[in-house]
Symmetry: C2
Subunit: 531 residues, 2 copies
């Protein structure tokens, strides 16, 4: 599991998971009535929270984060040191601009208190739960298990007296598709920033597909040189990829790369000859190409080399191998493929050929000490896949994905749910409600089966999305799914009660510079100005 590699004071991306996902939205400046659903701007809802009606002024000159003396992590842990800087600027937006210095002199806060954040990181903590508690007077904040965090303002602020929290699901992902449209690195970084605010912890990078191959491979530079929309301006260099991974890690987000095959590979063929299957028209090649050619040893040699590079570039323990939507018509047309089918005893069942291909690819990743994630298609046609493979459900209506959850977990596989969160599908009105009311565990199965649902994923496929509309289309609609994946289902079962809290959170996203679209009529204190 993801948190197994955590060790004491080593500052890993796993440690950060707790940080970025729990740091935020614990304190806010408001005077709303107390109660679970009136907790202004707190999204997703913590598992447990009690708050006080008292307000304390926060003085930026008396406010600081520090490591507890018992903490396993101490100064020098770059992930936390950087996070402290980032969060301080969010709490006191004007302070870092220099403007605050003059203003602070005129702020006469009667109840001004010295504010200190104590962080105690215990070596044994491998769960990502945390507790925040505030005692009055000194108003020190102690986060016993992992990290405490703060959000507020330099004026009067609400303090939550106690909050205990942990995620419902360990895998809370967002898929971006950088093949149907190229997304500039800045757009990806902005998304990572926003993801952390909603406690997402996996960036599923669907980096290549039919339309373009923007990943610049060290080993096979022709893949992007010939397969990208443009070989210079529409690619991700090694440095770009490294920047994305590092930026994500600082925010507690893992980067899961997907190199989908054998289908969805048209762009691969431009820079790698003999990789795709030549389609035939009658007895001669038609000049077009189909899925990856599964009958050539050169295919597997290429894939082994490519995935070796991928596993060295992307540190995550998972690799997504795709395996969806393979069209058999080209394979069927090709006499060499048909001969191979005969030789292997596959008869006319091309799913056996597909299974043969995927088995080889999964074995390559196993040899690289990586765990595979594949789309549900691989389970649907084939059951001989390694038991630690994660199946990714993307098809269909609620009825059908519940059945699929049931079937896959019954077979003992871990599963990831994406089907109800295809957020690229837009419609008029408040469709976030559909994402919010998903019940990922509402399928027929034992308790053991339910435990095999490791999480869910919001998919933003790129047919109609690029950097011009990505952010307002994602936010705050994806935040609805985020709460479903993080919070207790019973406490968050009422979508109408969630509405004003999500509206507040959306305003908070605007304040943090995320171009999140409105949920309905109304306004925010800080409107988006960046046109």
């Amino acid at each position: 599991m993801y948190f197994a590699r955590l060790c004491c004071c080593v500052c890993t991306s796993l440690l950060l998971v707790g940080l970025a996902h729990k740091n935020f939205t614990r304190m806010c400046c408001a005077s709303v009535p107390l109660g679970l659903h009136s907790v202004e701007g707190v999204w997703p809802l913590p598992q447990s929270i009690t708050s006080s009606p008292e307000r304390y002024p926060l003085n930026p000159q008396a406010f600081y984060f520090t490591y507890g003396s018992q903490s396993a992590a101490q100064e020098g842990c770059s992930v936390l040191d950087e996070a402290f800087k980032r969060y301080f600027s969010l709490i006191f937006p004007d302070y870092s601009s220099g403007r605050f210095y003059s203003e602070v002199k005129f702020l006469k806060c009667k109840n001004e208190v010295r504010f200190k954040v104590l962080l105690n990181l215990n070596v044994v903590v491998v769960q990502s739960d945390y507790t925040l508690s505030v005692s009055a007077g000194q108003a020190s904040l102690k986060a016993e298990t992992v990290w405490g965090a703060l959000r507020g303002d330099y004026s009067i602020c609400k303090i939550y007296l106690k909050s205990t929290d942990f995620p419902r699901f360990q895998f809370r992902g967002i898929l971006l598709d950088t093949s149907r449209h190229y997304l500039p690195v800045q757009a990806i970084l902005k998304t990572l920033d926003a993801m952390a605010f909603s406690k997402f912890n996996v960036f599923h990078w669907h980096i290549v597909d039919d339309p373009s191959f923007p990943y610049q491979s060290r080993t096979f530079p022709d893949l992007s040189a010939k397969g990208a929309f443009h070989p210079m301006t529409h690619i991700y260099t090694q440095s770009d990829v490294g920047r994305v991974i590092s930026f994500a890690r600082m925010r507690g987000i893992r980067v899961l790369p997907e190199f989908d095959s054998p289908g969805h590979t048209q762009s691969w063929g431009k820079g790698q000859s003999d990789l795709l299957t030549p389609c035939y028209s009658g007895s001669s090649p038609s000049g077009t190409f189909g899925p990856v050619n599964p009958i050539l040893p050169s295919t597997y040699k290429f894939m082994a080399t490519l995935f070796k590079e991928v596993s060295s570039v992307f540190p995550d323990s998972y690799i997504h191998l795709g395996g969806d939507e393979v069209n058999f018509s080209c394979w069927k047309s090709n006499p060499d493929v048909r001969a191979f089918m005969l030789k292997m005893g596959f008869g006319a069942d091309f799913t056996k050929l597909e299974a043969y291909y995927m088995e080889n690819i999964v074995n390559i990743t196993v040899a690289l000490n990586r765990t595979s994630i594949v789309w549900q298609d691989v389970f649907d046609y084939h059951e001989r896949i390694p038991k630690d493979t994660v199946l990714h459900i993307w098809k269909g209506l609620p009825a059908s994905y519940a059945a699929e959850l049931s079937a896959i977990t019954k077979a003992g596989y871990r599963v990831l749910l994406a089907a109800p969160w295809y957020i690229n599908h837009i419609s008029y009105g408040q469709d976030w409600r559909n994402y919010y009311t998903v019940q990922p565990l509402n399928f027929s199965g034992t308790e053991e089966q339910k435990k095999l649902v490791i999480g869910g994923e919001v998919c933003m496929w790129g047919e109609y999305v690029d950097a011009t509309n990505l952010t307002p289309r994602l936010w705050p609609r994806a935040s609805a799914a985020a709460e479903r994946l993080w919070s207790d289902e019973k406490q968050t079962s009422d979508v109408d009660k969630a509405f004003p809290r999500l509206q507040d959170f959306r305003c908070e996203l605007l304040r943090r510079g995320i171009q999140a679209e409105p949920l309905f009529v109304g306004h925010c204190k800080h409107e988006y100005q960046g046109v």
Copy 2:
């Protein structure tokens, strides 16, 4: 009609109509096959165009706009002088940044020519048609009737040999709703910029409505002080409004203000007591308010004063008075209103009361020498409206708006079509095709009736739209309607042929800094980077 006020060398906003709507997209840097539908980036399609396969380099240091010696307008006409500056920067984007100076030295363009734009404005021209022609060799461009314009690059460019053009409809509008969400002035200006690129010429400013009253009135400052979302940050000052009008005028766009009543006025009631009708629960007031109170003389006194101010602030000859969706339940509940109904002999027919109200309001605008535009509801319940009133169709499906077009024009009224262009209604996929295939004149009626269709309007209602998503939701979807309103219907009847040209135009919008969303899978040379 709109162009009636045009006079010789006076530089009015009406003159600019021609300019902004004809100046653009005449020249572009490309090497596509010739033909009507392969004219890269030219949108909307001119009525007539022939182009040459030859390419000439454009040297910014030898390129200039100038007024023809016979032109009625000459240097000092601020609208044109400013337009020259703006267009020059668009043609040579790097030149104005200073970077170009060093680059140009290394540009060795063999066919470099001196390029000159001659503008001849004839006094008699009151139509907005124009002709561009280019002769080889000297490559001077002469625009005989109104203005010529250019778009290109500083490298090799295609030259259209001849283009004659005029709009199909005179009124090509976009409605923005600044009440359901406040739009910062910058967002409005950006929209005006983009509107000019698609040859829209009317900004219909639905400035107030139920949720908020952001217009800061000189005469009634409480309307925004109490009725805006925020009295300081969410208002349009007189200076803001002036800025919008002036910015629009420079781009050939008229600003049509709408102060919708008697319904859609909840926000008005906050700053103006006794304006709205008190609703009753049984025999006593319920504490809530309904539409504007039509029975009090003070109502009409207030409206006369407000519209006097509005007509002095907004120079356009039209004022939009709304008149849609009046809910009668509050009027029905009020005993004073019922007594008034009896006294007036209206019986129980509240549409008569509504008609009485609208008649009074229309008469106020007549007295101010303004022409009224009202939503179709006013025609539907009432036929005694002044003959020069324009009816605005917003309801229903194709069948029903065609019937309404037929009925209104049969009664001799001019009509404006908005119903098929409610662009705030989003759906997954290429819904621009629906906007493109509208046939505004496809209704049963005589040729005289068809002439009464003065144009159409794209409506962006604000329930789910603010500055975060306005631009990608408008563009290039609104451009589809723009071509329908500008170009010849027969030449633009094939939506599939229009697709690649609209894709090119969308890329050109990106290059000009408009955050226009993609139509489908693909890429642009200049992707949007501003996240």
